[in-house]
């Protein structure tokens, strides 16, 4: 037996594909660019400022923790995973968010949700979503400060000043320039017993063509980038298809039951974080299910929970919570969805 035990030193295979973690993360970042451009076009400089705060925070947090945990810096800092977390948060957070909101959210995501669990590969929860959910609970007001789509009332410097110093240009107040997101609006107005139709006309075609002015483009662009990722085999189709499919069918079923009080499935797909979430957040491999069938259940769970939280929960967009809830179910899902091994019977 000893010879076998020694055998593992001589390690085949001796060839390796050119794939690497950093390549995957880089491609995901690249695929985010179209969506980010749309985001910038419709919601202004906020995204850039968010990125400028989030990325250094994430890298510094990662480096600090790696040092404290006595881990090598270079391989882990160059895997782009911390940057990806930062970018996802920067996109998800409001364009008028104060700097400290971004800072706290990112630091929390990296230090608590990622590194304290053991760093890359060991975090059971999606770090960006942990950061997001924490902010949503702790600072609900700041989390709603979005600009209305395509108004460009704030120049870059104005936006920067607001982020860091909390000062707006003369004559503007936060209330006058910010506006609730379409998802938010629909939720509060439905709560006031308005019908979908009334809401749409009151807010001057709030729904745009698909899912809210501006938002629909952002979502379309993320959809575009996400499909690119599937074609490059960076992510598998299972999770996005399951998320989108289940959200669509939930929305469709309720809309068919009562058109007046339920937004259309298309609205659900193309507003809020749907496409970003379906292709870029839910597909984070580390915290997602890992079997093909498990990924379908995992994605479907996220879609359904998102719909439930959007419709009846306390938050306008439930994506972050849906992801976190499904993260908890991952070990169980994986265990019960093992594929049939070659030469074994179905059981």
């Amino acid at each position: 037996m000893t010879d076998h035990r020694r055998g593992h030193i001589h390690s085949s295979p001796f060839l390796h594909s050119s794939n690497s973690v950093s390549r995957i993360m880089r491609l995901v970042l690249l695929a985010l660019i179209p969506g980010m451009l749309a985001h910038w076009y419709f919601f202004g400089w906020g995204l850039l400022i968010n990125l400028g705060i989030a990325i250094p925070t994430a890298l510094a947090g990662e480096a600090l923790m790696l040092r404290l945990r006595h881990r090598p810096l270079t391989p882990f800092l160059s895997d782009y995973s911390a940057i990806l977390t930062a970018v996802l948060l920067a996109i998800a957070l409001p364009s008028l968010a104060p700097w400290w909101l971004i800072f706290i959210g990112t630091a929390f995501a990296i230090i608590i949700a990622k590194q304290l669990y053991g760093g890359l590969g060991y975090n059971p929860f999606n770090p960006a979503m942990v950061g997001y959910a924490m902010l949503l609970i702790a600072f609900p007001r700041e989390m709603t400060t979005w600009l209305p789509a395509q108004t460009h009332e704030l120049a870059f410097m104005d936006n920067l000043r607001y982020s860091f110093l909390n000062v707006l240009p003369h004559g503007l107040t936060l209330d006058s320039i910010s506006m609730a997101t379409p998802l938010d609006t629909v939720k509060t107005r439905l709560g006031l017993n308005m019908t979908i139709h009334e809401i749409n006309s009151q807010f001057q075609n709030l729904f745009g063509m698909l899912g809210g002015r501006g938002w629909e483009w952002v979502n379309l662009m993320f959809l575009f980038g996400g499909i690119g990722l599937i074609f490059m085999r960076v992510i598998s189709w299972h999770i996005p298809v399951a998320v989108i499919g289940s959200l669509f069918f939930c929305a469709l079923a309720f809309q068919l039951a009562d058109v007046d009080t339920h937004a259309s499935p298309i609205f659900h797909l193309f507003s809020g974080a749907t496409m970003l979430g379906a292709f870029f957040i839910a597909t984070d491999p580390i915290s997602a299910a890992t079997t093909p069938r498990g990924r379908l259940y995992y994605g479907a769970g996220i879609g359904i929970l998102t719909y439930i939280i959007r419709s009846w929960g306390g938050y306008p967009d439930g994506f972050a919570f849906a992801v976190l809830l499904m993260n908890m179910a991952v070990p169980t899902i994986d265990y019960y969805t093992q594929p049939r091994v070659f030469g074994h019977r179905d059981d």
Binding site: M1, T2, D3, H4, R5, R6, G7, H8, H10, S11, S12, P13, F14, L15, H16, S17, N19, S20, V21, R23, I24, P72, P75, F76, D79, S81, G118, G119, L120, G121, Y122, S236, P285, I286, A288, T290, T291, P292, D334, Q338, P339, R340, V341, F342, G343, H344, R345
Partner: protein, 540 residues
């Protein structure tokens, strides 16, 4: 000409690197002055030398015979003198030395008289016997004694005899060259195998990147009318050459886990084995094979007919090896082969390729598993390599078996694609050997416990018996003092004592035998397990 094909899960499209060694025809390698012939060149039990130092031998003469069932004899690969029987470095993953017969060539290369046979006049059993004596083992890389796989047993019917010409690993081209240059020998060998197995029909499977080999086989078949042989092109996809994978692709049948192809009416052999079978019927035992000598730092990568016992080094030199190059020496392919530290190890029956690969200056860092499931996507057995890795690393050997560790064929596809560069297969090998070691340990301790319990039981019984004896004696004494039937009583007492002694002896014997049996069985079991695993792991 269209044969329906199936597919197995996953698989890899790999860069072939095959052309580089296919520019010229196969040529005979020079016979070195000294040949090193390991006593074990196959899966199973080692052979025992039947020559002694100083003996003169001729080519084809048996020099080591098999003493147990799963074994294959070794023959002298040229004429000369036996100059030593000693431990030498051999090509084995362990890197350990092993007993070898050292043959000094006399340069005459005299052969023993060859006696050709016609298989049509032979009973299958006789045929198998002949093939066993010819030392034939699977030449696809595993080296399992072929005569065993040519014996279907009374209760099995062989529907399909499948000849594996897939050769799916990059760089290796020895089978492709053999098919191109010796299609008739392969077909004749196949017909012999068919006879031994009494198989209904035969299929030769060739990957579709070997067009010339395919054409040559098809052309050669036309001269063999009538026959029941079909040549099938299968898609080039690693590891199609794996036995169970190929069976799935060609027949759509899935060989159940931990069972043999025979159970679904199929037997699979390698094309080179078929050619060796043909040679054996011509009176030529297995003494040489085609070896692909290829890779980086070689000026003339090519295929050579090599006598077993030839050191790797002389073959490398024959192919223009750049001595300054920093390379790793690998026996077999880049996915399933193993590193050889010493270039003086000899070519043996399972050496299908000698591969030189540039040593990686900077090993990519291994990152943690990111659960991307790329490995699961390519695994031909549809395992979850990421879960296997997780539990193997945690040394949770129960869980790792829940995830079917022992179905892993160690093809390396998972490690090839892993973006975190985790040496996954290492972990599986480690877990497997640990589990085997634990099982052995457990068996040993079970045995020890049984022995202990038995001794306890015996001691107690002895105590009881002693008491009984004392009591009897007392009674006897009483009786003698009473003077009643003392002679008979004495006789009875002696007889009883004798019987007891006898019984105890028998028991002791029995016990001894029991333990002996157990150990032997154990040994056999372990050997069987190993053999089975190796057989599964490599394409044969």
């Amino acid at each position: 000409m269209s044969h329906r094909l199936w597919r197995f899960h996953g698989g890899l499209h790999l860069p072939g690197h095959k052309k580089i060694s296919m520019h010229e025809r196969v040529r005979e390698a020079a016979i070195p002055s000294q040949l090193v012939l390991p006593l074990q060149q196959h899966i199973g039990h080692p052979t025992e030398a039947i020559v002694s130092v100083g003996d003169r031998v001729r080519r084809g003469q048996m020099i080591a015979e098999s003493k147990s069932f799963v074994s294959a004899p070794i023959h002298a690969t040229t004429s000369g003198q036996i100059i030593a029987i000693e431990n030498r470095p051999v090509p084995h993953p362990s890197g350990l030395d092993a007993p070898c017969i050292i043959l000094e060539a006399d340069g005459k290369d005299e052969a023993i008289e060859a006696q050709a046979h016609d298989y049509r006049n032979m009973e299958p059993a006789e045929l198998r016997h002949l093939l066993r004596d010819a030392g034939i083992v699977g030449l696809g890389g595993a080296g399992f004694p072929s005569f065993i796989k040519l014996n279907p047993g009374p209760e099995n019917k062989v529907k399909t005899l499948l000849l594996n010409g897939a050769e799916c690993e990059p760089y290796i081209t020895c089978d492709a060259m053999l098919m191109q240059e010796h299609p008739h020998e392969i077909i004749k060998g196949l017909l012999i195998m068919k006879h031994a197995l009494q198989a209904e029909h035969c299929i030769i499977a060739v990957e579709d990147n070997k067009r010339l080999a395919h054409t040559m086989l098809v052309n050669a078949l036309e001269e063999h009318e009538p026959h029941d042989i079909e040549v099938v092109q299968v898609p080039t996809l690693y590891p199609t050459g794996g036995e169970k994978q190929l069976i799935k692709v060609v027949t759509g049948k899935e060989v159940p886990a931990s069972s043999r192809p025979l159970n679904v009416g199929i037997v699979c052999h390698n094309v080179a084995t078929a050619a060796a079978v043909y040679d054996a019927l011509q009176g030529q035992p297995l003494i040489s094979r085609i070896v692909t000598v290829t890779g980086e730092a070689l000026h003339h990568p090519r295929n050579l007919w090599v006598r077993f016992g030839t050191p790797f080094r002389t073959l490398l030199d024959e192919c223009g090896f750049d001595k300054k190059a920093e390379v790793d020496l690998i026996m077999g392919g880049p996915l399933m082969g193993f590193k050889v530290a010493d270039p003086d190890v000899p070519v043996i029956k399972t050496s299908n390729a000698i591969l030189t690969l540039k040593r990686q200056v900077q090993k990519p860092v291994t990152l943690p598993c990111i659960r991307c499931a790329e490995c699961a996507r390519v695994c031909p057995v549809q395992l979850l390599p990421q879960q296997l890795y997780w539990y193997a690393r945690a040394q949770d050997f129960d869980r790792v078996q829940d995830y079917n560790l022992f179905d892993c064929i160690e093809c390396g596809a998972c490690a090839y694609v892993c973006p975190s560069h985790i040496p996954l297969v290492n972990y599986y090998r480690f877990a497997k050997t640990e589990i085997w070691a634990q099982e052995e340990e457990k068996k040993k301790s079970d045995l020890a416990r049984q022995r202990h319990e038995f001794r306890q039981y015996r001691m107690e019984r002895k105590k009881k018996e002693d008491e009984e004896r004392k009591r009897r004696k007392k009674e006897l004494l009483k009786k003698t003092s009473n003077k009643t039937d003392d002679k008979d009583a004495k006789k009875a007492a002696i007889e009883a004592a004798m019987a007891r002694v006898k019984a105890r002896r028998a028991e002791q014997d029995q016990q001894k035998k029991n333990t002996d049996n157990l150990t032997a069985e154990q040994k056999k079991k372990i050997a069987e397990i190993e053999a089975r695993r190796k057989e599964q792991a490599k394409n044969d």
